[in-house]
Each structure stands twice: as C-alpha cells, then as structure tokens.
C-alpha cells in the first residue's frame, strides 16, 4: 500500500538530484548579478574616526581596488560591510534597497564573502572542517557528515581549479595553500562579491600572478571582487577601478588605465611621497657579521635553515628577501640568540657568538628590531621610558646591579623621544598609547642609539603609516652611513629592493641567490623567491 509512495518519493528524489547537478553543470558559475553600495558610512572608535562619510560601490563583474596606507580605514570599512562592525551612520544597499547586517551570517547570506588578511582558519582542524564550519552538513542528531564535507570541498576546489586536500591539517599547510582554503570557504557559501584584504602580503610574485588569474576566473564566473591593498602596483595591474581612502575619508578615485603610482600615492598620503629611498652608494668596510654553514632543525626534524653562509660588512645594507615561511624567522631568531642552531658558526666583529645569549649579543654590539613589535619588541604595559631602556637596563648607566637609576633613564628617554621623532606628550605614559609607527620608532630609537656594530632588522616597517616608514628607512640609511652593518629581513620586496645594497634570497631555508638590486628586476627576484630561476631572456628590468 505504501510502496508506490515510497517509489514516488524515490523517483522525485532522484529527479531532483539529477536536475540540480545538471543545473550546476551548465550554470557552471554564472550567478545572478548584484550591485552593492556603501553610502555615507561613518564608524567611530574611542579617539578616532575610522570611516568618515564614505561612499563606495561595487558590482558583480568588476574588480575594485581599495587603496590607502595602514590605518586609513580600509579594513574597518570592509568589516562594516561584512557585519563585523556596526556603522554609526550610513547605510548599505544591495540592488538599491537598504539592508542591515547584524553579524557576518547576514552578510554571508546576502552573498558577501571575505578573505581576511590574517587567515581565519583553525590551525588544528582539517581543510574540510574549516571550510564547512558554520554550514556543516549533518546526519541525524546533528552528527557531522564529514564525508559530505569532503565531497563538497573537492567539488568547489575542482570547479575553480584550486587544488586542495580536504583532510590536510591547516597548520601543516603553506601560506599559499591556506589562502586557497579561505577562497573555497567563501565560494562554498555562494558569495557574489568577494572581498580580499591584503591578499598578496604573503605571496611570491609568481603566486601573486596565480592569484590574479583566480580573480579573473571569479570575474568570469560572474562575481565581483573588492581588493584591499596598499600595494599600488598590484592595484594598477588587476583593478577595473581604484578608490583611495585617506584617514577615514574618500580621497579620490583613479582609473588604472591612466593613473600612475605616484598620483595614487599622493592621494593616499596627501603629499608627494618618496617612493624610492635616497641613498648614496655604499662603501662597505670590514666584515662585521660572518655566518658560516648555519643550519637550524625544527622539533619535527626538518631543516628550516639549511647550511647557509653569508657576510655583512660595515657600512652596507644586506637585505634578505623571501616569502614568509622559508626560514627567515628562524634565521633571525638564531642570529639574535633566541634559538639554538644545530650546526654552523656565527661571528660578530671577530668574536665567536655562535652560542651567545641575547644579552651577550646586545653587549657585543648587536641591535635587534624584532619582527613583531607588540609581542617581541615592547612591553606595552610599561611606560615609554621603561621600554626605551628595555635592552640596556643592565648597563652600568642605568643600573648598579641591584638598583635601577630611574632619573638617568628618564633623562635619556626624553632625549630619545626628541631625537627620534616619537610623538608623545609624556614618556611616562604607557607604550600602548602610541600608534604603531611610534611604537616602532621607540624600538628603533632604543637600538640605534646604542653603540652597535650590527643592526638586525626584521620586518622593520610592517603595518605602519607612510610617514613613519619614510622616517625609519632614513634612520637605517643613516646608520649604515655611519659605518654600522645592517641586515634587513623583510617579506616586503619593495622595501628590500629599495634599501639594500645587496640582496640575498631565501627559499626553503637556503640562500638561492645573491643579487644586486640595481641590476635585477622585481620579477626575477620573485622567481628566485618561488624557487625557480629566471630564464636567460627575462633579464631586463621591468
């Protein structure tokens, strides 16, 4: 009696499945159009107006680049769009009707997807688990249908040519692959507009090209792309339109077909910007830092630094270029005494410092600007004065072994604040009250004001405003001109190329190239960074 019903049900079920798969096969990615508009968005935080009456629009089928320097309000604006922040004024319109997003869930269901600058991936989960989080396929009783999840991941990644293994654990994956996971996450939720926040910060030039082709695939599939960046070259390359934000306000728009980098940079900062660093040619002296056959093995047994050797002379700037994750961090940790090496030798000014502690290295004449100023460089809960003596408090000038000589420290602090353009009203205030750029200046002041022979600078201008970047670059060049040896490790290729007298490229723990930045193109360096080599013909400067 009920068999026919079962049979009907079964048939309906099958037809439905067939139809939907046919649909997705034929409509391989051409989604309905959508126009998104942000009107009059204002967002205030205590002490600062992050977005001030901002207007912006994006439609499917185009790439909009949103440029501005660090702190201009780009990320805030996108977070408002994504429902993470609530705008104080203004509205969001989709296809000309106002919408309200109270949480990312709303934005997601409206068709907005976001790939954040710092990946939102749970390191201990697999790719599949990360991708389906929030839209998990389930069996009875809420049990996770992990097989379905795996299948979905494979489907989407195949459709867009983003090769992914659903069972790989995210923390084991290299950065470029993690980005693909983020993209699949977004596509799985039927995003129509995809926002990328500083997506190329962690990619090699060739990976960036790959990334651009993904963007083009998305456009061809009918999506819209917003591309937040502070890298003007890239904006000019990929965007159909460019909007510039400065200090929370819209500073202008540009047409990538006609605008120049200099023009956009001026809109970003409000004045003419030095895009290159002015420096005289270097006059290298004796070797100050001598690294020989250095190898570092991580707890899993892998060689993260693989038998490298190099020299840094007095009066020269050596830059180490490379994509994050190729051993640079470990190299810096080893050179600064925080990590034990497995083999090799390090000599500083003739003295063997292979097994020296950070303290010994400081007293032997090494200054260190660490990669992460808030986590490694400063104690933000302490005053500016205390931070300014953080690496020299044990010096006889500031301590007699038991007691600290605070009056002297305060005196020196006042001097340093004045000499190094640290914008603060009172050095007794906590370091947390300073902006990123000024915090970095504190570290620079602290290290460069000492009697040092070598400066080890890791990511010295990451995440700070243009004015501070210029200032710090100036200081580094000044230091070099006074005879100090400088070793810069940075993933920001422009910075390395602009500042260095010699460039070393690190790839998978090895130094794969030693180049003269004046004689080689960005693209070629990029190829080395990706582990390949430029062909004979591609030697010209771009």
């Amino acid at each position: 009696m009920f068999l026919p019903r079962v049979r009907d049900g079964l048939v309906n079920f099958l037809i439905e499945r067939l139809a939907s798969s046919l649909f997705s096969a034929t409509h391989c990615g051409v989604d309905p159009k959508m126009k998104l508009e942000l009107r009059g968005i204002t967002k205030r935080f205590p002490g600062v107006v992050a977005n001030d009456d901002v207007n912006l629009s994006i439609s499917t089928g185009e790439v909009l680049a949103l440029v501005g320097e660090n702190g201009a309000g780009k990320s805030t604006l996108m977070n408002v769009l994504y429902g993470l922040y609530k705008a104080d004024e203004g509205e969001i319109l989709i296809d000309d009707s106002a919408v309200r997003f109270t949480s990312p869930a709303d934005a997601i269901s409206a068709g907005i997807g976001m790939v954040h600058q710092h990946f939102m991936l749970v390191p201990v989960f697999t790719v599949a688990e990360n991708v389906v989080l929030g839209i998990e396929p389930t069996k009875r009783f809420g049990a996770l249908d992990i097989d379905k999840a795996r299948q979905l991941v494979r489907e989407v990644s195949d459709r867009y040519n983003l090769d992914l293994d659903p069972d790989a654990i995210v923390e084991d994956l290299p950065v470029g692959v993690r980005q693909r996971v983020e993209i699949v996450k977004v596509l799985m939720r039927d995003a129509k507009i995809v926002v990328f926040d500083e997506p190329t910060a962690v990619l090699t030039p060739s990976e960036i090209i790959e990334f651009f082709s993904i963007v083009r695939t998305l456009i061809a599939a009918g999506k819209g792309v917003v591309f937040i960046t502070h890298k003007l070259k890239e904006a000019l390359t990929i965007a159909d339109r460019i909007n510039v934000l400065r200090r929370g306000k819209v500073a202008g728009a540009a047409d990538p077909k006609t605008a120049t980098e200099a023009q956009i940079a001026e809109m970003m900062v409000g004045r003419a910007v030095q895009l290159t660093v002015n420096k005289k040619p270097a006059t290298p002296g004796d070797a100050v830092l001598n690294v020989q056959n250095l190898s570092v093995v991580d707890p899993d047994g892998r060689k993260v630094v693989d038998d490298i050797s190099f020299v840094v002379h007095a009066g020269e700037i050596v830059g180490v270029a490379g994509v994050q994750g190729n051993g640079q961090t470990e190299l810096v940790e080893t050179l600064s005494g925080l990590r034990r090496l497995n083999s090799g030798q390090i000599t500083l000014d003739g003295k063997d410092v292979t097994h020296s502690s950070p303290r010994d290295l400081h007293t032997s004449g090494m200054g260190h600007i660490p990669e992460d100023r808030q986590l490694q460089g400063l104690v933000t809960g302490m005053s500016i004065t205390e931070n300014l003596v953080l690496t020299r408090y044990h010096d006889g000038m500031f301590s007699d072994g038991v007691k600290m000589k605070w009056p002297k420290a305060k005196e020196i602090a006042k001097e340093l604040v004045a000499n190094y353009d640290i914008r603060t009203s009172d050095p007794e205030q906590l370091a947390s009250t300073l902006s990123g750029g000024n915090q970095q200046k504190v570290i620079v002041a602290r290290e460069l004001s000492r009697d040092i022979r070598l400066v080890l600078a890791a990511q010295p201008t990451r995440g700070i405003d243009v004015g501070s970047i210029e200032y710090i670059h100036e200081q580094i060049v000044k230091e070099r001109d006074s005879g100090t040896a400088v070793l810069i490790v940075s993933t920001e290729l422009d910075e390395v190329m602009a500042l260095s007298d010699r460039v070393l490229v690190m790839y998978r723990g090895k130094i794969v190239a030693e180049l003269d930045p004046k004689k080689v193109s960005h693209m070629d360096v990029g190829l080395y960074m990706a582990g390949s080599r430029p062909t004979e013909s591609a030697g010209a400067k771009s």
């Binding site: 997601i108 939102m120 749970v122 201990v124 707890p299 047994g301 060689k303």
Partner: protein, 409 residues
C-alpha cells in the same frame, strides 16, 4: 623541503620520562614491596571468592617486569601501544602495592574498587564541566563552587521534596552559577579567573553561612535517604568487573553516559566542531557567522548543570546530608583531571579514577601496617600528580583561546 621527519624532541623527552617512570616503579617494587612475606588475600566478590597472592614473589616478578619495561621503553619505545602498556603497568603496580600492604591479611579489593568508582563521580562530572568550558574558550576555576552549591541545594531540595527534584534543583544551581560566570566574563570582560575564584568564595561563604544559620536550627532541611545502588542486569554478573562497575548508583551510570556522550558530541557533531573552534580560534567561527558568544553562554550553562549534578552526588548519592565545605577541594582536583586528561573526556575520566582510587585507598590505609608513616601514603596521589604533570603532561595542549575574552566589536 627536507622532510626527514624524526621524532620531535618533545616526544623523545616524553618517552624517556616514561622509561624512567618504569624504572622508578621497578625500584619501588623491588626495594619496598618485596620485603613483606605472607599472602595477601583479596576478596573478589561479595560471595567470598578470593585471590591469594604471595606478596613477596609477586613483587619480585613484577619488579623484574618493570625493569624489562623500562629497558624496552628507553631503547625502543612501544609506539602505538604506549598508552596501553602504561595503563597496564599502573594497574599491576597498584596491585603489587596492595599486596604488599595487606600481606598476611585479607582485604576487600572489590569493596575498595567499588568505592573508587563511586567517588569518581563528582570529580568526573566536575571535569566534564571544566572541559565543556575550556573547550569553548572559557576558563572555569569555579568548578569547586558549583559542586559545593549543588551539594547544598541538592541536600536541602531533596530533604524538602524528593530525590529527583533535589537533583534538578542542584542542577539548576550549577546553571545559575555558570550563568554568573558567563555574564561577568563574557559580557563584562572580567578576568575569568577572578570571577571563578569569586564564585568559589561566594559559594563557600554562603553555603557555610546558610548551613550554620538555617540548617543547624532546622535539621529536617538537611536529612534525606540517598539513592541505593542498582544492579545492571546481565552486566553485573561479569566476575569482578561486574561488581565494580555495574552495581552502582544512578549517579555513576549517569557519569559513564556523560563521558561517552560528551566524547561523541565533541568530536562528531556540528556542535562539537563549533565549540572546538570557539576554543581554538573563535574569530574563525565568528567570521563565518557562528555566534560565539551565544555558544559560550550555552556551553557554560550546560557545564554548570553537569557540575551541579556532580555536587548532588554528596547528599543524594552517598551521605544523605550537607556538611560545611563537603567538597573539600574536589573541584580543583577536577581541574587537575582536566589537564591530566588533556582536555579529553575519557582522559579526564581516567584522571578522576586515579584520584578517586587514592581517596578510596586512603580510607583503608588505617588497616595497613606498612612501617611507612601513613602521612606519606596519603601524600602519594598528590606527589604522583606532581610527577605526572611535570614529566608527562608539562605545558600541554590547551585550547588556544581559553582565557581570552572574545572581541566582537
């Protein structure tokens, strides 16, 4: 990349410590346990079947076995069987300890182990509550307070109404305290540890206060007949094991079920995935539309409910009354069990068993005439935990986001 994957330094150190551990067991067994002649009689069932072990010979044999284990561990390691070997070794060690202690006399092993399982209930349930919270990203120091408050309200509730209602009241008390923890730590961003400790103080103070002020003059508010053990049909007939695990009160069965359920839920359901995400990297979940705040609130309250029921074990499951500070720090032992079990329900359960065993043994210590001052034997579980935490757990894998308030805006 050079992927010559050797065993990490961490694992090597861990394995070496286990090897030394076996060596230590060997030394103790040979040096101490082998010294008493006589047979140890263990009563295995209520009926009177007993196991007689020649204590000295037993000790010699197992001392040698431990040396062998130590050598094997230090030289080769046991690979996947490591945990199994470790558990078996521990069981054997305990047996040899007990033989030594009761040599020449008779001892109800069954009774003691039954007692162990029963005593593990509040610690297990407290630990499960702790795991629920920590896995969601909130540190719960207030387990002690929840247990204590649950014990109090459970006692009064059951005295005034009936056992079921009393348990429910205890559960709701736990939920209430968990709600306070949630509101202060999630909404007002007060340091989770401060709130936890404040709740503990509060619970201790108010229950002692009320105990003195209300219960003493009104003893009928504080007397009830606790539940009786129930024999699970079939399973309780299994020799030895049956008596120990399947002739217990409903609280025990509930704790077994809770461990099993939580394990399944945490690792196999959608809820579990989101919970773990909230504990490891809440922003990942938040940016995908998961309401981390609501999830934490809910999980905390479930944890409170479980802990509340754990608290009810004292009046309703065993003694039939409430006494001041009846929990005596078990909430912190539960916390230790969480860490001991590496934030996994089954691990925490085994940790709870270890502590419960120590408690049960402590009672019988009086019957042992061992020549070692009883205080040192009483100290043993704490020393053992110290050694285990230092040597084997160390700075283990806590949920990364535990302790940090979730930043939404």
């Amino acid at each position: 990349m050079n992927t010559e994957l050797l065993v990490s330094a961490e694992q090597k150190k861990h394995a070496r410590n286990v090897g030394f551990g076996y060596l230590g067991l060997a030394v103790i067994t040979l040096a101490v346990f082998s010294r008493r002649p006589g047979d140890a009689g263990f009563k295995l069932t209520e009926g009177g079947t007993s196991l007689t072990l020649p204590a000295q010979q037993f000790a010699w044999i197992f001392g040698i076995v431990f040396v062998a284990l130590a050598a094997a561990q230090l030289l080769r390691g046991f690979g996947k069987l490591s945990s199994v070997v470790l558990s078996l070794a521990t069981a054997v060690f305990v047996l040899s300890f007990l033989s030594w202690a009761t040599a020449g006399e008779s001892f109800s092993l069954v009774g003691m182990l039954q007692d162990t399982v029963s005593r593990s209930v509040p610690i297990t349930l407290g630990a499960l509550g702790g795991i629920l919270c920590e896995r969601s990203g909130v540190i719960n120091i207030a387990i002690e307070g929840m247990l204590l408050a649950g014990a109090f309200t459970g006692a009064v509730g059951a005295s005034l109404t009936n056992l079921w209602l009393g348990t429910i009241i205890a559960m709701l008390t736990g939920v209430f305290l968990a709600w306070i923890l949630a509101v202060f730590s999630i909404k007002y961003r007060v340091d989770q540890v401060i709130v936890g400790f404040a709740i503990n103080f509060f619970a201790l103070g108010i229950t002692s206060f009320l105990s003195f002020r209300v219960l003493v003059p009104n003893p009928d508010y504080n007397s009830l007949v606790p539940v009786m053990p129930i024999s699970v049909p079939l399973l309780s007939k299994i020799p030895f094991i049956g008596q120990i695990f399947f002739v217990q009160t409903i609280f025990v069965y509930f704790s077994f079920a809770a461990v099993a359920f939580l394990t399944w839920a945490m690792y196999r359901t959608r809820w579990g995935l989101r919970t773990r995400a909230a504990g490891e990297y809440p922003k990942a979940a938040g940016t995908l539309g998961v309401d981390v705040i609501k999830l934490r609130y809910r999980n905390l309250m479930i944890a409170g409910a479980v802990a509340g029921i754990g608290g009810a074990w004292w009046p309703i499951g065993t003694v039939g009354r409430f006494d001041q500070n009846i929990t005596g720090g078990r909430g912190f032992i539960a916390l230790a069990a969480v860490i001991f079990g590496r934030w996994h329900p089954v691990g925490a359960f085994s940790g709870a068993m270890v502590f419960a065993l120590a408690e049960a043994v402590r009672l019988k210590i009086g019957n042992f005439d061992t020549g070692i001052p009883s205080e040192f034997l009483l100290m043993a579980p704490y020393l053992v935990t110290l050694v285990v935490v230092a040597g084997f757990v160390g700075a283990s894998r806590a949920p990364k986001a535990a302790g940090q308030p979730y930043d939404e805006q």
